[in-house]
């Protein structure tokens, strides 16, 4: 585009100098040819410098496979190592590599077998790709994840990671069994406390 503007300006300057319509016409035609050649050349160069989609797909799938193995080995923090400093996990409201690291260190993943099914990679622009995959455990536990990868400083890093879905689904807070346990616990304690308050209120020192 810049080259195109430059060429048009050049044509305008030259035509102003010669003030000749034929010259303008010729130069305009030349400009179209020249611009087309330039676009062709840039297109070829650009296509050559970008890695083919298959290679990127292979590379990112390998990264995901390796990091999943580490996560199931208990090295949950290694997932954060794939992220940029400003990466986000919106599902858990986590912003920044450090915050993500802290959250991941608290995560306990039980040892189990698993399979990963990758969906085809999606290219957003020349440096941005989206991966999505499903992890299935023999217990029936399934999670679907998706990441947006950015090619920066010669390597791919995750800018956004998202948990699309989980089966059994994650509830937006306390799980049902834990809710009942805590409700029972707090209920019994509150009842006993109120009873003790009543006793204290009625108590008379002898």
């Amino acid at each position: 585009m810049i080259v195109d503007i430059y060429v048009y300006l050049k044509v305008y300057i030259i035509s102003m100098r010669y003030r000749n319509t034929q010259t303008i016409k010729t130069l305009s035609e030349l400009n179209i040819i020249f611009t087309s050649i330039l676009f062709l050349v840039f297109g070829v160069i650009s296509a050559q410098t970008q890695p083919p989609l298959e290679e990127v797909e292979k590379l990112l799938q390998k990264k995901i496979t390796d990091v999943t193995a580490l996560i199931y080995e208990g090295e949950t923090i290694s997932y954060a190592e794939l992220m940029t400093e400003n990466a986000v996990i919106p599902f858990f409201g986590l912003t920044g590599k450090e915050e993500i690291k802290k959250a991941l260190t608290r995560l306990d993943i039980p040892r189990t077998d698993y399979t990963i099914d990758f969906s085809p990679i999606v290219k957003i622009d020349s440096t941005t790709y989206v991966t999505s995959y499903t992890i299935k455990e023999p217990s029936g536990f399934t999670s679907m994840q998706s990441e947006i990868w950015k090619f920066e400083d010669g390597q791919f890093k995750i800018v956004v990671a998202h948990l699309i879905g989980k089966d059994p689904p994650i509830q937006g807070g306390i799980s049902k069994p834990r809710f009942f346990i805590s409700a029972l616990f707090l209920g019994v304690f509150s009842f006993l406390l109120l009873l003790i308050f009543k006793n204290a209120w009625l108590w008379k020192r002898k």
Binding site: L94, R106, L192, L193, I196
Partner: protein, 246 residues
Amino acid sequence: MEKKINHLHWNFDHLKKDPEKQFFLLTGLWFFFVTLAGFADSFYLKTSITPNPGFLIVHGITFSIWVILFLVQCVLISSKNIIWHMRLGKFGVILLFLVFVTGFHTIINSAHVRSHEVKEGTLMQILLGVSIALIAIYNRKKPYIHKRIMVLAMVFLTVAAVQRLARTFWNFEDNFWLINVLYIVPLLAMTVFDQFYFKKFKFLSLLILIYWLTDHFLLTRVYTHFFDSYTGKRIIEMLQHIFLVL
């Protein structure tokens, strides 16, 4: 003057009669269950593939014994086993030393292993918890002060359990309100209880509550500033030299 019986006996008549004994037994149960629930996932019922390192197991056992000891002491007082309460109290002093050493060692060693900064706030909580417990033991002849200060020490020493409890029950969120309500419940309940029990305004429990609130919301910032200073950093370095050798 209460008669002290040497052998262990289980007469809970006094518990039925005295609401104060009921209240402190309930606090003992509270700290016990909070610790149990808070560390169930990461310690007591842990099923993760990454086993806890040795130092963490020692720290967990020491702190667990301390929480159980508090509950046992409350039971002993409720059943008028004063002599046994005093005997176990001596063991409590030794245990407090272990709580301090294993607590500091775990915080410093974890920071070293996981390559992150030493959590000065947690160091201060353990230091304050142990110091306040020692003040409570020093005041052992004054039961009114002894009991109430010991509850404050327990609040400091079970901070980690409360944080984990909130996280475990609310997935990843650090629920600010839930954590602070869980911290404050025993101290607030103690303040209310004292007003009902003594039928007149009692300063100590209120003072304890105010101190805790001040420490939690104001003094923690002072600690952070101090540990960011040159002297604070040298102290952390010194502690690293001591506890990483252990």
